[in-house]
């Protein structure tokens, strides 16, 4: 086998431009939103592997996001653990919990899997509110220290921007290697047809569990970064709406496209931020935007717009152009 090098030249240019963007804008609001977008993108990236590659359904990743967040908050405030270690632990704890609940839940399919994962979010939210001694109840935990490595504190939005997007890039590269490896291909086989995948020696339940745990680890890391950026944590940040937002990021980006997921995360974070200005009207508008995306571009923005454009051209283009395209 030839070992492929997936980092392409165009990607390097893209990264350089992207890293220069916050310096050009140098606006605290812009930087903060991009930090949040990056964090959501980390969680959505994991979910993208589970939804797009293992072909399963989860509307419960806000629970793992929250478990990561609370682990980070409790470990770094109560036990005074260094934040890099807490972040690692946040990912591992949420992965471990996903392993425990994943075994029975992943036997389900479609609607019932969706319901069971929604149940996880509801159960998590009740426990986060009620275990007052551990989680601080409704008001949550305050005064979580900034993320720091070897005494270097990430205390401004600009520093956090580079931190979050660096972690996101590492996870992105890892995910890309994963989906091009034999595990990624096995997962696609499972998503296509579980029964056929068994005949070529793949264990579907194992593949699904692996991807579920991996996506929970991503969500846990995202949650840990989320609370260290906001320096506080409370149960209402991790409700069903958050889960729906993660799933929408994957759908808007296009199922099975990792780069698309990150684009979807950035786009949706900006939309949510923009909707926040409309106060009471933001909720119905958010619903309408979700419905419009799903009805008109269910394949995601890139593939969806591409397909629509192709249809448009085929319908209205003149004879020569049509022949050109049909070639």
């Amino acid at each position: 086998m030839i070992k492929q090098n997936y980092i392409k030249k165009i990607e390097v240019y893209f990264i350089i431009i992207f890293l220069l963007l916050p310096l050009l804008f140098d606006d605290i609001v812009y930087n903060h939103i991009m930090v949040i977008a990056g964090i959501y993108a980390i969680a959505a990236l994991g979910l993208s592997l589970f939804l797009g590659y293992a072909g399963q359904i989860s509307i419960g990743h806000a629970a793992f996001f929250g478990i990561g967040g609370y682990s980070m908050a409790i470990l770094s405030t109560r036990f005074g653990l260094p934040s890099a270690l807490s972040l690692l632990a946040a990912g591992l704890i949420s992965g471990l919990l996903a392993f425990i609940v994943g075994k029975p839940i992943l036997k389900l399919r479609e609607y019932f899997l969706a319901l069971a994962t929604i149940g996880l979010v509801q159960i998590f939210q009740v426990f986060a509110t009620e275990l007052t001694d551990l989680t601080g109840g409704v008001s949550g935990i305050y005064g979580i220290p900034w993320f720091s490595i070897f005494g270097f504190e990430f205390d401004t939005s600009l520093k956090q921007f580079y931190l979050v997007w660096f972690i996101l890039y590492i996870l992105f590269v890892y995910s890309r290697h994963l989906i091009h490896s034999k595990y990624g291909k096995a997962s696609l086989a499972v998503a296509f047809n579980e029964d056929t995948s068994k005949t070529i020696g793949i264990d579907p339940s194992q593949v699904k569990l692996n991807f579920f745990v991996l996506s929970a680890v991503y969500a846990g890391i995202g949650g840990g970064l989320f609370v260290s950026v906001l320096t506080s944590v409370s149960p209402e940040s991790f409700g069903l709406n958050m889960s729906v937002i993660f799933v929408m990021m994957v759908i808007i980006g296009g199922m099975g496209s990792l780069f698309g997921t990150i684009t979807g995360a950035v786009l949706l974070t900006w939309i949510i931020n923009w909707l926040g200005e409309y106060q009471a009207y933001s909720l119905p508008f958010f619903g309408i935007i979700l419905i419009l995306f799903l009805v008109f571009l269910p394949e995601g923005i890139f593939r969806g717009i591409g397909l629509r454009w192709f249809d448009f051209v085929r319908t209205y283009a003149d004879e020569n152009w049509r022949k050109e395209i049909d070639k």
């Binding site: 969706a114 509801q122 009471a280 933001s282």
Partner: protein
């Protein structure tokens, strides 16, 4: 726990359970006709209740016309939403369908918050009668009889309709084999639309019956819908009898649990019961062909 308190909790649980059953019936009516799961079902309950409150308080309707108008309007909303949103994407993957119904649910609860205001509302009881007393200290609200009675009546009607009428059989046929039913001349799209209308109507009925007992707010639909769906799965997905049994069991378990654990955990009970049932008895209590097929 003293016996009286247990009975008291169990009876109030039966009442809540009857509401869960009604919501579960709504889920199953749509599923039996179209194999679609409509997660916005709980919002129909909320809409039905708030519309009725609006007609009585703002427009000065008396009770019965307000209830009928509200049920009619919510059914129309169900028909319209199916036509406008669900119909164009009916062939998309399950995940897209689920997300669309969640989007609908967010849209409906948000709009209701703007239209009817954010404060919790309630209705007067159906008849102005004092509550009963049994075993010296156990009190039963008269409204409970209406709720449980309505649930039993509706499940009997739905069963009769699905068993003995053309429309019921057509619904079954459309969900079993779309092409086959199209070939026999059954208007498939109309049947699916009708099922959404009926299901929205059932939701509105549940809303109107529950509001004299509990406050209803623009955002109380989502959790009711999820619990109704859980009830349908617990009882045995796809069966009317399963929906009623699951709803009643869920209501009683949830209500009695307050006697053993702190009341704050009550909302988690439904989902813990659901996960346990899915794990140990995945077909539900009465068994379900649909769930068996969906699990390997």
């Amino acid at each position: 726990m003293p016996f009286e308190i247990f009975v008291q909790l169990a009876i109030s649980g039966l009442t809540t359970g009857a509401i869960y059953s009604l919501i579960a019936l709504g889920f199953i009516t749509i599923y039996r006709a179209s194999n679609i799961l409509n997660l916005a079902q709980g919002e129909f309950v909320m809409l039905g209740a708030l519309c009725a409150v609006f007609f009585i308080e703002k427009l000065g309707f008396s009770y019965f016309p307000a209830a009928v108008t509200s049920i009619f309007l919510v059914s129309m909303a169900g028909l319209f939403l199916q036509r406008a949103v669900i119909h164009p994407i009916r062939d998309e993957p399950v995940l897209i369908l689920i997300m669309v119904t969640i989007g609908l649910s967010i849209f409906m609860s948000g709009s209701a918050g703007i239209l009817f205001g954010p404060s919790p509302r309630s209705l007067p009881p159906f008849i102005d009668a004092p509550s009963f007393e049994i075993f010296n200290s156990v009190r039963i609200n008269t409204q409970s009889f209406f709720v449980i009675g309505a649930t039993l009546l509706l499940v009997i009607i739905l069963y009769m309709v699905s068993r003995y009428t053309f429309i019921g059989k057509a619904m079954e046929a459309v969900s079993t084999d779309r092409l086959g039913s199209d070939l026999t001349g059954i208007p498939g799209n109309f049947i699916v639309m009708l099922s959404f209308g009926i299901s929205a109507g059932i939701g509105a009925i549940a809303g109107i019956f529950i509001t004299p007992l509990f406050f209803t707010q623009y955002n109380s639909g989502a959790i009711l819908g999820l619990k109704g769906f859980s009830a349908a799965v617990i009882g045995g997905w796809g069966k009317y009898s399963g929906a009623v049994l699951g709803g009643l069991i869920l209501g009683v378990v949830e209500s009695v649990s307050v006697g053993f654990i702190p009341a704050g955990y009550k909302d988690a009970i439904a989902f813990i019961v659901l996960l346990l049932i899915l794990y140990f008895k995945p077909k539900g209590i009465l068994g379900s062909r649909a769930l068996e097929e969906s699990r390997k």
